[in-house]
């Protein structure tokens, strides 16, 4: 479950939330591997775990490399409660919800960030999660 006791009110907090979210996506698909749900093949599940790990590494790099003076300005209008992932079922429905929430987070958050490199990264992650969602729904 993605739980935060902090507000998404600045650059570092938003990046940390994103990092935790991708960690959760990895954990979710690791759990799916041990269940005999047939929505995705074993290699597709492995790919999703690896993709989440890669997104997490890119977010960590962005948090290290893209923090600048400008990012100290407060962010408003992002509520972590809207992107809480909890109690998802390990089936098609659960996977669709997971990627829908993640995609929504990246889409909303990138509008609030004023660092170009990080906006690009969030845009890419938004598209990836949307694609992953559609693949499951198909």
């Amino acid at each position: 479950m993605l739980v935060t006791d902090y507000s998404l009110n600045q650059f570092g907090a938003v990046l940390t939330f994103a990092i935790d979210l991708e960690e959760l996506v990895s954990e979710y698909y690791n759990s799916i591997q041990s269940i005999s749900d047939k929505t995705l093949t074993e290699s597709e599940v492995t790919n999703r775990i690896n993709a989440a790990s890669k997104r997490k590494r890119n977010l960590e790099r962005s948090r290290r490399e893209n923090v600048t003076e400008i990012t100290l300005e407060p962010i408003e209008g992002l509520d972590a409660q809207n992107y809480t992932i909890s109690g998802l079922s390990y089936d098609k429905e659960g996977m669709v919800s997971l990627h829908k929430i993640a995609s929504g987070f990246y889409e909303d958050a990138m509008e609030k960030l004023n660092v170009l490199e990080t906006k690009r990264l969030f845009s890419r992650h938004h598209k990836e999660h949307s694609r992953l969602q559609k693949t499951v729904e198909a």
């Binding site: 003076e69 100290l72 300005e73 407060p74």
Partner: protein, 483 residues
């Protein structure tokens, strides 16, 4: 268990001669983090002798080899990035984002030193006279030292050390006794990259070790960042001992806001400028000059944003402003707030009453805003070095520039406007070394010199940029003929 720090001299960690130790505390919760030795003159001399002995071979090391060590240092900084950030938060009281920003800037300074092989190049003219060639070569000079402040404990040392040793010099670092832990990590990494013994040395301490550095005949140059009051003493003393010196001092930075500015962006920028690092920066915005009829709307928007800033322990992801460096400093700032009130300025936002998130104790103070600040008042003149912003009125551009240029400091000044003509005239006329145009903190990046004028800088060559290569080297002119 708290850490008793050691000095790093001649390639190893050494227990210093001194018996006196200075406690290092986390200003957010008074937790004791460790203790730093108050090194003696003899401790300093050990470091100088090691650095002096190492210089001959180090300067003969090919410059590309020297720089290769710094590539390794950068990689280690990236690996330990979050760890270093957390240490900066704990010892300096800043927020995680502020600490990450500091570490990134520090790494940029290391990256700048990669260009020393090009920047150190000299020049030659053949046949300056018949069969005579003349060359200007840049050579390193010997042992340099830095005396660095509490507020950017990791970044400021790296403004100097990487470029100095890339140029072929050897180095002694004396960090602030209030925030020595960042240097502990830096020197762990410097030890790990395998530099020859004596090339870099760390001496912890206070006044005695600073004096010893300034007086030592074998140190050729000193860099200092801190208050102008102390900086003037350091400049005078060090130059009287024949050293080249660069002193980056204090500031009183003005921000002029014009009616045609993008006001929301200006407010956001100025919020970060005034309250970033709880105002404890030489580039912090300190006085806003609101020009014409922008005053009322600007004050209202700024007060609204500032009153909602989350002040708390910097390790909490929600905290947007951390603590003051110490209770003593907080007491000093409180005294200045009181003085501002007595002067007759209107304290429309009182940081003393600001709610501190999830924290009991600690040297916290919320953001304060004074309005109707008068020209010549203490609030308009004196550096506060805390989260206190003053707002003045000016009827027009010329008066705003006049007010700004009255300051004895000349570190930074900013203008917020959409008018290119005003922006050009502002940067032309204002007597400050770092100018921001729609930028609240005019912080030069590593490849530019860190400007500063009047009481904000003493010396000839600034830190950072190609100024730093000129500071750490000197020309040798060679005139040759081969009969």
């Amino acid at each position: 268990m708290t850490q008793k720090l050691q000095n790093y001299i001649d390639g190893e960690w050494v227990v210093p001669e001194t018996q006196n130790y200075i406690e290092v505390t986390n200003p957010a919760n008074s937790e004791v983090l460790g203790s730093a030795p108050d090194s003696t003159t003899k401790d300093v001399d050990s470091a100088v002798q090691a650095a002096k002995a190492a210089f001959k071979e180090w300067r003969q090391t090919p410059v590309l080899t020297r720089v290769r060590y710094l590539h390794r240092l950068k990689e280690l900084c990236e690996e330990r990035f979050e760890e270093i950030s957390a240490i900066c938060v704990k010892e300096a009281g800043k927020t995680l984002d502020e600490a990450r920003g500091e570490i990134r800037r520090a790494i940029e300074s290391i990256e700048f030193s990669f260009s020393v092989p090009s920047l150190m190049a000299g020049f030659k003219v053949e046949d300056i006279s018949s069969s005579i060639d003349e060359t200007a070569e840049r050579q390193p000079l010997g042992v340099f030292a830095a005396i660095t402040p509490f507020n950017f404990p990791f970044m400021v040392p790296l403004w100097f050390l990487p470029t100095a040793i890339a140029c072929g010099n050897t180095y002694i670092m004396k960090p602030s006794p209030q925030t020595p832990l960042s240097m502990q990590i830096l020197f762990e990494m410097l030890d790990e990259i395998g530099l020859p013994e004596g090339v870099v040395n760390l001496v912890h301490g206070g006044v005695e070790s600073a004096n010893a550095l300034m007086e030592h005949p074998d140190i050729v140059g000193i860099s200092f960042v801190g208050s102008s009051q102390v900086g003037k003493i350091i400049y005078t003393k060090s130059t009287s001992h024949g050293k080249r010196v660069q002193v980056q001092g204090g500031a009183k930075n003005y921000l002029a806001v014009f009616p045609d500015a993008n006001l929301d962006a200006a407010v956001s920028n100025i919020l970060g400028s005034a309250y970033g690092c709880a105002g404890q920066r030489c580039l912090a915005g300190s006085v806003v000059v609101a020009v014409g009829d922008v005053y009322d709307e600007f004050v209202s928007k700024l007060k609204d944003k500032a009153s909602n800033l989350v002040v708390g322990n910097g390790l909490d992801n929600s905290s947007q402003m951390g603590s003051i460096i110490s209770e003593a400093s907080k007491t000093r700032i409180l005294g200045l707030i009181e003085q501002g009130v007595k002067e007759g300025a209107d304290l429309i936002l009182d940081g003393r009453e600001h709610e501190i998130a999830k924290v009991e104790g600690g040297a916290f103070l919320g953001p304060s805003i004074f309005t109707d600040v008068k020209r010549g008042s203490m609030l308009s003149r004196e550096e506060i070095f805390g989260p206190v912003l003053s707002i003045m009125r000016a009827p027009d551009f010329d008066t705003a520039v006049e007010i700004i240029n009255e300051s004895r400091y000349g570190n930074a000044a900013s203008i917020f406007t959409n008018n290119g003509g005003y922006a050009r005239e502002f940067k032309y006329q204002v007597d400050a070394g770092n100018i921001g145009i729609n930028i609240g903190v005019a912080a030069p990046s590593a490849s530019f010199p860190f400007g500063g004028k009047k009481d904000s800088f003493f010396g000839d060559l600034h830190g950072q940029g190609d100024d730093s290569v000129r500071f750490f080297t000197d020309h040798k002119i060679v005139i040759e003929r081969w009969p």
